[in-house]
């Protein structure tokens, strides 16, 4: 009886010890998407006057840090492919005919979403958890970039306690400047055990009045050969789609 009382006291007295931020972040990664998958995404840029520009991308990911995104629409961008291998990113434009290195802070679409957002790899691949703080319905994770190559130096991630999915992420520069806020919405069951937000909205104090939205469809677990994630394969990526 004394042992049980002691255990209860410990659990009551040290609730913070029950939170393992790294473990939560790993679960967030896997709940957001399988380690290897294919998906379709629509990016919508909304300007202050309400006008929109839309992009559709076919995305493939393998492992923690290999991602390819093929532009299917609009016609001006159709056939463009972006590849990410860890910290390395390339853009292939059909007319240019060869991949050029791009940086994570650039945006191939010109929207608030930059390349790091469009070619996102696992959070655990890029960030260490510095602190995990329990809130009423959520857990606040404070993340610090593992290297200077990462697009955002720090992230504040609010994670839904029950679903273990992010609800809001604030992205900061090394100077402490808030670069953008990401809002995850509309949790949807995509089948195959994948239940995640289907909508991601972002706004930025640097682009007042502008908003960008990313919508997900057709996410499914798929395994790809490693050769697909190479520069030489980029002109032929679209042949992989069913």
């Amino acid at each position: 009886m004394k042992k049980i009382l002691c255990l209860i006291c410990c659990l009551v007295a040290f609730p913070a010890m029950a939170i393992d931020g790294t473990q939560i972040l790993e679960k967030v990664d896997r709940n957001l998407e399988p380690e290897s998958y294919e998906a379709y995404r629509q990016l919508i840029d909304i300007q202050p006057d309400g006008s929109k520009k839309e992009y559709v991308l076919y995305t493939m990911k393998k492992g923690r840090d290999k991602v390819v995104a093929l532009f299917l629409s609009p016609p001006s961008d159709k056939g463009r492919v972006t590849l990410r291998l860890g910290d390395n990113m390339w853009l292939y434009i059909p007319d240019v005919g060869k991949p050029i290195r791009i940086t994570s802070l650039q945006s191939v679409t010109g929207s608030i979403f930059n390349n790091a957002d469009i070619l996102r790899i696992d959070y655990t691949a890029e960030y260490n958890v510095e602190a995990a703080e329990e809130k009423l319905d959520s857990i606040l994770l404070s993340l610090k970039a593992k290297t200077g190559e990462v697009a955002y130096d720090r992230l504040k991630m609010w994670v839904d306690k029950k679903a273990l999915l992010p609800t809001t992420i604030e992205a900061y520069a090394a100077s402490g400047l808030l670069l953008k806020t990401l809002h995850f919405k509309n949790i949807k069951d995509f089948g195959g055990g994948i239940k995640r937000p289907a909508t991601l909205e972002t706004d930025s104090p640097l682009y007042k009045g502008y908003k960008s939205v990313m919508l997900w469809a057709g996410i499914k677990k798929t395994n790809f050969r490693d050769e697909v994630f190479t520069l030489n394969y980029l002109p032929r990526i679209q042949e992989l789609r069913k």
Partner: protein, 434 residues
């Protein structure tokens, strides 16, 4: 609560419910319309207007407008259509890229229809592709120039991103991916035959012209080794690299050596000789992105096949003297010799030996998304002549690109940009993608 209040409440509730439903539906996305199709067709149509301020003292004006009415300026309208398509069947894919344009100016009307690419490829395995047909291969990491672009037509440094016509060839792509510091190995062998009606502008006929490129991704650095065997052109080999030093800072370089390169050289009297020797070209460059979204590109290019300042001056002097002789005596023999040289290697876009290229491009300038002003400068470091090109690009209208560019070419007499055909050029185009 009276009846009117209740009505208002119901109306308000209905409005709130409708708004909520609309908000939920606002961002619905159905991907079924984007599945792969057996046949795809796309491309763009473009209308371009150019105004040229002609450089009547320039050597290339004299060569280009010989026999034509002399002009101070020229206005040219160009309509262009480029079509790209794919036809899929079984394990193979046939793809094509066509270019058609019609030009009109005060002197002439002309039209072009060129098949840029048309090739059939099969992929028996993700690591292997076999291809035959007309294909544009682009080798090298340079933005404005590519010393190792051995099996391609040279790019226009004024518009390096423009599509170009390819060559008929058979090629393969073999890719191996592995764990460890050497992540990727890719080998691209090429056979480029040259006959009277096939690739005849590549070089002398009757050769098969083997070439190959080996790509390595080693410790986050792209490295290529390229080779072209001697045949229609002298043999050559080279390498390039590209690497990110930071997430916003990339460096790249190229190096190429051509064996027994033949360079026609003239003096100001029109005495031409052919110099034979090994030529080494190289390029180093960087790309840097600031926190304010300004991209800087800078390159230094050493053109081993180019002309020294003195060699170029001799040619420009020859054109001047030949033009005067033709005007004064009516004898055009010397002028025809100068014209032939001007249509050859002296007339290349950048015939000099040392250049620097600089480009600054601002994304979303003045707070306007999709508005990109840019400034490009190209300097001939031998004769200090230069070209400066400010431009405005707007891509905010669906499927439409609008670009305004102004080219200012400056240089003293007997220098590259001082002897070009025009001294200024204003260009405006609207390109619609479909």
């Amino acid at each position: 609560m009276n009846f009117t209040q209740r009505q208002w409440l119901l109306v308000s509730l209905a409005f709130v419910s409708a708004s909520a439903a609309q908000a939920a539906d606002e961002y619905s996305f159905d991907a079924s319309g984007f599945e792969k199709k057996p046949f795809e067709l796309g491309g763009y149509a473009q209308i371009k207007q150019d105004h040229f301020s002609l450089n009547r003292n320039g050597a290339f004006y004299k060569l280009g407008y010989f026999g034509d009415p002399q002009r101070e300026s020229l206005d040219r309208s160009t309509a262009t259509v480029e079509l790209t398509g794919k036809l899929r069947g079984g394990i193979g894919t046939f793809d094509f890229h066509t270019h058609s344009d019609i030009q009109h100016d005060q002197l002439a009307n002309s039209s072009n229809n060129v098949l840029y690419e048309a090739a059939y490829s099969i992929r028996p395995d993700p690591g292997m592709t076999l291809e035959a047909g007309k294909r544009t291969l682009r080798w090298g990491k340079g933005y404005a120039w590519n010393p190792i672009g051995f099996v391609e037509r040279p790019k226009d440094p004024n518009d390096p991103d423009l599509a170009r016509e390819g060559y008929g060839m058979v090629n393969a792509d073999l890719i191996v991916n592995r764990d460890g510091p050497l992540q990727t190995i890719a080998f691209t062998p090429v056979l480029l035959p040259v006959e009277r009606n096939v690739n005849s502008d590549f070089g002398s006929t009757g050769h098969l012209n083997p070439a190959a490129k080996l790509y390595l991704l080693y410790r986050d650095t792209d490295i290529d080794f390229a080779w072209q065997g001697s045949g229609s052109r002298p043999g050559r080999y080279g390498m390039d690299f590209s690497r990110n030093l930071a997430s916003n800072f990339e460096i790249h370089g190229e190096w190429a050596r051509i064996r027994n390169f033949v360079k026609p050289v003239t003096d100001s009297l029109g005495h031409s000789t052919s110099e034979v020797g090994n030529a080494t070209s190289y390029l180093v460059g960087l790309r840097y992105l600031t926190e304010g979204d300004t991209t800087y590109i800078a390159e230094y290019y050493r053109n081993g096949t180019g002309y020294s300042d003195e060699e170029a001056r001799q040619f420009y002097q020859l054109v001047d003297d030949a033009f005067i002789q033709q005007q004064q005596t009516g004898n055009s023999a010397l002028f025809q010799r100068a014209l032939a040289l001007g249509q050859g290697s002296y007339g290349r876009p950048n015939p000099g030996q040392r250049y620097t290229y600089f480009r600054a491009q601002q994304k979303d300038a003045l707070g306007i998304i999709y508005f990109q002003p840019a400034l490009t400068a190209m300097i001939n470091l031998n004769d200090h002549s230069y070209q400066v090109t400010p431009e405005l690009l707007y891509t905010g209208i669906k499927n439409l690109d609008l670009r305004l560019r102004f080219y200012a070419l400056r240089g003293s007499r007997l220098t590259e940009f001082g002897e070009k055909q025009n001294s200024n050029r204003l260009e405006l185009y609207a390109r619609y993608y479909f």
